[in-house]
């Protein structure tokens, strides 16, 4: 068990190295423009060259990469070319916004999806039709469209919510809630659409299995059959869907943060990438790799615990 986790972590480390190096290598083709970007259009070519030397961008890609890696190993992720802000701090300060959105949206989506899926599968009839209609409706329109229509209707026309901007939770919980309500609604619509149908399908499959009939034949209460046995067996596929949903929400936040002008991880990444802020992009890449790897490991571990047959170790 411990060996399994260690092996997975070692794999993760190699993965992180590969991905960051690959990103670095891809970025290197645009290094020429970086210095020009920083100095603005009026800069002379001498000044640009001087800045490139100063930033170390004139060295070979491998040397630069190991230079960066050496810093990372000592906890120094470098500074932003444009704001001189330390990368770790810059990424950290934007995470709060995105995590607020994603975690709140995920929690709401999971609760609603599981409730809807389980009720649909076990009650059938009208509840079932309702749940199917809900998940279908959620799939009909892309995030962008839902987000922008919500902004137009509720923020611009009705003025119920601020159209843009963010207030940290610690500063003013009420305004924080107002600021994230519309973006969270967009993510939740998407989340329910993705997860409720999966939960329903898996639950229906479980409830038609032979063991359910045998449990019924022993006088076991329907409640226990649905919520203890079938739900337990449906939990492992549902968990995979949930972990994917978390990651896709994290990535999908980019467009939503832009529509609502939230200073989150996604829009930060977008702006840094557009500017060619190399240290920030690398920091963001590294963080994303570690996030995905830990979510996957966690999912597999919980799945192994839930489902003795799917145990991978």
């Amino acid at each position: 068990m411990l060996q399994y986790i260690l092996r997975r972590l070692a794999t993760a480390l190699v993965l992180a190295l590969l991905v960051t190096f690959f990103t670095f290598w891809l970025l290197s083709s645009s290094f020429d423009g970086v210095a020009a970007n920083i100095l603005g259009p009026a800069a002379t070519s001498e000044a640009i060259e001087a800045l490139q030397v100063q930033l170390g961008l004139d060295r070979s890609v491998v040397v630069q990469y190991f230079d960066w890696l050496g810093g990372v190993l000592t906890g120094d992720f470098g500074n932003s070319y444009f704001t001189s802000e330390p990368v770790a701090q810059a990424v950290g300060s934007r995470l709060g916004v995105t995590l607020s959105l994603v975690l709140v949206a995920l929690a709401i989506s999971v609760v609603i999806s599981v409730a809807l899926g389980v009720l649909a599968a076990s009650r059938a009839g009208a509840v079932d039709r309702l749940s199917q209609a809900v998940s279908l409706t959620g799939h009909l329109f892309p995030n962008l469209l839902i987000a922008i229509v919500l902004v137009v209707v509720f923020a611009v026309n009705l003025g119920w919510f601020p159209a843009t901007g963010y207030t940290p939770l610690a500063e003013n919980p009420g305004r924080w809630a107002l600021a994230i309500t519309l973006p969270v609604i967009v993510l939740v619509i998407n989340g329910i659409a993705n997860m409720a149908a999966q939960v329903r399908g898996t639950m229906i499959g479980e409830l038609q299995k032979d063991y359910v009939r045998t449990l019924r034949s022993r006088g076991v209460a329907t409640r226990s059959i649905v919520y203890r046995h079938a739900l337990r067996n449906a939990a492992s596929p549902a968990l995979v869907v949930m972990s994917l949903e978390f990651l896709s929400m994290f990535g999908g936040a980019l467009i939503i943060e832009n529509v609502f002008a939230l200073p989150g991880f996604g829009s930060f990444a977008f702006n840094s990438a557009l500017r060619g802020d190399v240290p920030v992009i690398l920091g963001i890449t590294l963080f994303s790799v570690l996030l995905v790897v830990s979510i996957n490991l966690l999912t597999d571990l919980i799945n192994g615990w839930l489902n003795p047959k799917a145990r991978l170790f």
Binding site: L136, I148, F270, A273, S288
Partner: protein, 597 residues
């Protein structure tokens, strides 16, 4: 799986496959939702293809006179945008961008995900390790960020971007396919195919693909929608060439110009919405048609009984269970009704063993499940009566039936493995049943479960108690199920082909066990079987069923010596041809007999 629930299994033949496919298309064109959405999609695609003919202006051509022109301005059907470009022309050309994005993204995702999913799921070991590694790597790339980072490489071209996005979508397909393949690979029928020497590609194509096909088609429909959505999202952010007209860019322009003319925002938003929703709805219909009847939610409930049916004629007599005039029907897909039991009458006396014999589809399992109140939810009991010690069981609610099940009537299934919950230990499952019927506290129920396991001849009860179902053998599992059934000393044990799925050597042991338990507890056994060897071995009386009717009842010896009904005679004659006792298929198909149900 027993015949009560699976009317159409094991028909994975070439012929069945083609007819299924043909009728899938038939179902599709009969579904109004499919026809309407397909028409919308075709119209949209045509509008895009005919854009050069329909539009009077180039999508990027701007004219000062057309800046924020009203809809209906000559030459500008929907007006002009803030740069003086023809909105109508831009909408038509945007369709092409969206359609192409969807096609590129989805084909790449499905091609990559399906191929590697099948390979990774089917072959374990090093191969799967490699594919897992690869797809973790792909998934690890922060999707949209990668598209942005690669801007210098792709030059912002949406086609190159969608090519990469397709690869990024592939892990979704890969995971679905890999999980289903791993699941299918562990199924018994794939095992059987492998053992029988079928080649891997053939198994993948014939046994695994059918389970994978549906989910992949569903996800492909949704992936196309999400590729279109992401492309418009990126265009909205301002990524890519401004020369390429797209809904996302138009929405961004219109949004910026919202206070001047809200309609400029409404047009592209509406078009994008109609396109993606038609796609998703069509995908939904396609799924219904391809996967056949979509898994329908079924309520756990007592069988439905048509009003006024119990025809109790009093006089309980000496019978433990008295079935009178029981008729049972199922609705057919064509809207009709198929009667599977027609006036079945049967008495089970206390302590006796009654063999209920007939070929598959004769209604013997349906009769047995009627007594337990465990019929599929669409079953309708049209008439008749089932009394347990004089008490009418038909018409009881699920809550009342739960009180009867396990206590008075217990059940031993045919296929031991699938009848144990794979996620719970044997012990936990036994304890739950014991507590449900006896109300014993947990510790006492645990002790009782261990005693029972010992009692049914399991050599190491403690180990089995804490084992999961997949850790024990089939014969062992059947003993566990018997232990669970007799836990509360029922007066009737219904055994549905309890030996059919087992090795020949174990069959006799299981029958011996049932005989011993019966002698000890004095319970009656209703033995549902098609095997006369089993009948001769264990039964006192026999009832022969054919096409939903009881055709002959009597003492086993009398019936064997002098069968009255021609059907019984035919069944008995046929076993003389059998070289061994075990048969999984119907002994012989009688004239006029139909398939299952």
């Amino acid at each position: 799986m027993s015949e009560a629930q699976a009317p159409e299994t094991e028909t994975e033949t070439e012929a069945a496959d083609t007819t299924q496919r043909r009728s899938a298309f038939g179902r599709l064109i009969r579904d109004p939702q499919a026809v309407i959405t397909a028409t919308i999609l075709v119209v949209i695609v045509l509008l895009g293809l005919l854009a050069p003919l329909l539009a009077q202006h180039d999508p990027n051509e701007s004219a000062l006179s057309a800046v924020n022109a009203d809809p209906g301005t000559p030459g500008y059907l929907l007006g002009g945008d803030q740069s003086g470009r023809d909105i109508f022309a831009r909408l038509l050309y945007s369709i092409n961008t969206s359609v192409l994005s969807g096609l590129i993204g989805t084909s790449v995702a499905v091609a990559v995900g399906l191929t590697f999913g099948l390979i990774g799921g089917y072959f374990g070991g090093r191969t799967r390790f490699a594919t897992e590694w690869l797809f973790n790597l792909i998934m690890t790339f922060p999707g949209l960020l990668l598209l942005i980072v690669l801007l210098p490489v792709t030059g912002g071209d949406f086609r190159a971007t969608m090519l990469i996005f397709g690869v990024l979508l592939a892990p979704g397909v890969y995971r679905i396919v890999r999980n289903l393949t791993v699941g299918a690979r562990n199924e018994l029928y794939v095992d059987a195919a492998r053992v029988s020497g079928l080649s891997s590609p053939r198994i993948l194509r014939r046994q695994v693909m059918p389970t994978v096909r549906g989910p992949v088609i569903i996800s492909a429909a949704f992936l196309t929608g999400s590729a279109i959505g992401v492309q418009s999202g990126l265009a909205f952010l301002g990524l890519g060439s401004t020369e390429v007209p797209s809904f996302g860019a138009m929405i961004a322009d219109g949004f910026r110009n919202y206070y001047v003319d809200p309609l400029q925002f409404v047009w592209p938003a509406a078009f994008l919405g109609v396109l993606t929703s038609a796609l998703v709805l069509f995908g939904n219909s396609l799924r219904d048609a391809l996967a056949g009847a979509r898994p329908k939610a079924q309520k756990i409930a007592a069988p439905s009984v048509q009003a006024g049916s119990p025809a109790s004629r009093g006089e309980a007599g000496e019978a433990l269970v008295q079935i009178e005039g029981l008729s049972l029907s199922y609705p057919t897909p064509s809207g009709g009704v198929k009667e599977v039991l027609s006036g079945v009458s049967l008495a089970i006396r206390p302590g006796e063993t009654l063999g209920l014999v007939g070929e598959s589809g004769s209604g013997k399992s349906q009769t047995a499940f009627s007594v337990l109140g465990l019929l599929p939810p669409d079953a309708v009991i049209t008439s008749g009566s089932i009394r347990l010690e004089g008490r009418e069981l038909l018409g009881l609610r699920e809550r009342e039936l739960i009180q009867v099940r396990g206590r008075a009537i217990a059940y031993v299934p045919q296929e031991p493995m699938s009848n144990l919950d794979p996620s719970f230990t044997i012990g936990a499952q036994l304890v739950e049943g014991i507590r449900a019927t006896s109300g014993l506290p947990r510790a006492a129920a645990g002790k009782r479960a261990l005693e029972l396991l010992d009692h049914v001849g399991i050599p190491d009860p403690k180990r089995v108690f804490s084992s999961y179902p997949h850790q024990i053998s089939g014969g062992m599992a059947q003993r566990v199920l018997i232990a669970g059934a007799v836990a509360s000393r029922p007066r009737l044990l219904i055994a549905d082909e309890p030996t059919t799925a087992l090795d020949v050597t174990i069959q006799a042991e299981i029958l011996d066990l049932l005989r011993d338990l019966q002698a000890e507890m004095g319970m009656a056994i209703l033995m549902v079987t098609h095997n006369f060897g089993v009948v001769a071995d264990i039964c006192d009386r026999i009832a022969v069923m054919q096409q939903g009717r009881i055709v002959e009842t009597g003492e086993v010896e009398a019936v064997f010596r002098d069968p009255q009904h021609p059907y019984t005679r035919m069944l008995l004659d046929s076993i003389l041809d059998e070289s061994h006792v075990r048969t999984d298929s119907p002994v012989l198909v009688a004239p006029g007999a139909e398939g299952p149900r």
